[in-house]
Symmetry: C2
Subunit: 298 residues, 2 copies
Amino acid sequence: LDMQFAGYKKLRTPNNLKQIHTEHYASLIADLCLTSRILIEKECEELPLKSLVSGKEYFAYRRTTTSSTNLQTVRTSRPINKALYIRNNEEFASLIECFLQSNYEILSADTITQLLYTIAMSFCVANDVHKTGDKKTPATFFELFVAHLFARQFQAFPRKKIKVPSVENQNAELPTDIIFDLGMGKVKFHVPVKLSTRERVIQAWAHQRVLEGLWGTAEFKGLLIVLTETKLNLDKLEVVEICLPLQWAVYQRYIAHLDRVYYLDIPERYADLASTNPRIDVKPLGVFFGEKDILLAR
Amino acid sequence: LDMQFAGYKKLRTPNNLKQIHTEHYASLIADLCLTSRILIEKECEELPLKSLVSGKEYFAYRRTTTSSTNLQTVRTSRPINKALYIRNNEEFASLIECFLQSNYEILSADTITQLLYTIAMSFCVANDVHKTGDKKTPATFFELFVAHLFARQFQAFPRKKIKVPSVENQNAELPTDIIFDLGMGKVKFHVPVKLSTRERVIQAWAHQRVLEGLWGTAEFKGLLIVLTETKLNLDKLEVVEICLPLQWAVYQRYIAHLDRVYYLDIPERYADLASTNPRIDVKPLGVFFGEKDILLAR
């Protein structure tokens, strides 16, 4: 546990954040992931779950601790997608080399999605079984992980605020989701990151709308990145996926236009939005690495 | 406590919800408020707080309970604005008659704000000192309270969803904040309700934007209703107000136009937005009752 959180703290030190686009930062994430996997293997047992999500199977890890006064605490992780989570350590060890070297060309989109899903979930699951009700640490980790991935791909530094000039005040700044400015004449990206969306998803469209209001519709491409939409019923040990495709369609139609929504564990009902009107391109995150050039084109 | 939550449950029964615009519903709210005040008086002691909010003084109520195993639990309420909360029971008893009869003409805007602040806070405070960390009950109560107030003023029934017709589907519906449709040819209102706003406030502007996208800019007037923006530091017993006026200005400029923001405990930095560009009319809720006709005019 100590190692785990030392690793997490390292991700957030100012000196390391300055290197968020580097292989050094990738190695910090990989260390944290490998420590998490060791903790999970050593301390947890597998808990089968009943999946109510068509075509997907889930399980969880469960950790039981006994205090000095003999009180037992049982902590259950978030649901883990069987087809996406790589459990074999040798297989994972060779794949994480690709992550460290940012060498995605040799991998299929599906394998990239599995690799990135496994990295993200390892830490979240280890944190779930060690700290009850801590939602903030996994959310911050996931944002840093995504910021690293895209910073390295774009070779650009992520920012979290943007100038909001007005006639009366040229220097006002607004806090935002992650922003990538690739430089003079090049595309800019607005990258909101969420562990799951529910009703809060409207924020991604609303922030995109603010950016379009400030700089016009042609400046920022919006890429929403989400881990999963699963929800675990702890009493029944059942997993459901919470999706609101009608709401998304209304937001895409009336608030602003998001270029992509990338999921690590993509819900089928959102993937279907790519063939409806208005179209929303919801895809597995692994697909991004093969279509990056389309997004980089103006 | 039992009485208190019986009263809360009554507010939510389907039969009572159908009468949300009536004096009967007002009497349910008044009963709940009076029970809350008795509980507070009987069980709590006053806790002085240090206010870091210029021009405002705050205190809290604190309740200490001892379990059968002699473990002490101390629960502290949210901060209460001294100038707004009516502590004198006789004064309050005569004022609550105005609430029951919806007779606001004889009261000043300041007195109406005090009366409504006191009703809302009584229940929230009683709930705070009985249930640790329960944010949902006060939020639901406050939404029902505001829905009642406006339903009675507008003589219209609140709705929580709206038709979203498209060429392909005429009957799709979208869940929304409270909507009032005053009938053929009359104004419609969109009334988001929040205990406090922080970063979630963007949802109010984004939903307004969706309504403007669906029905044009002239159909729905947006009235955002908020209780307070105070935050209590429990270690230092200090109260601060969290305000993000620059963000609000950007939302009002680029997302949509809200006609009013009404507060029960209004932050000065938001009130100032009524004289900036873009203008946002942020006012104490008591003012609404005197300017209702302006809002009802097309």
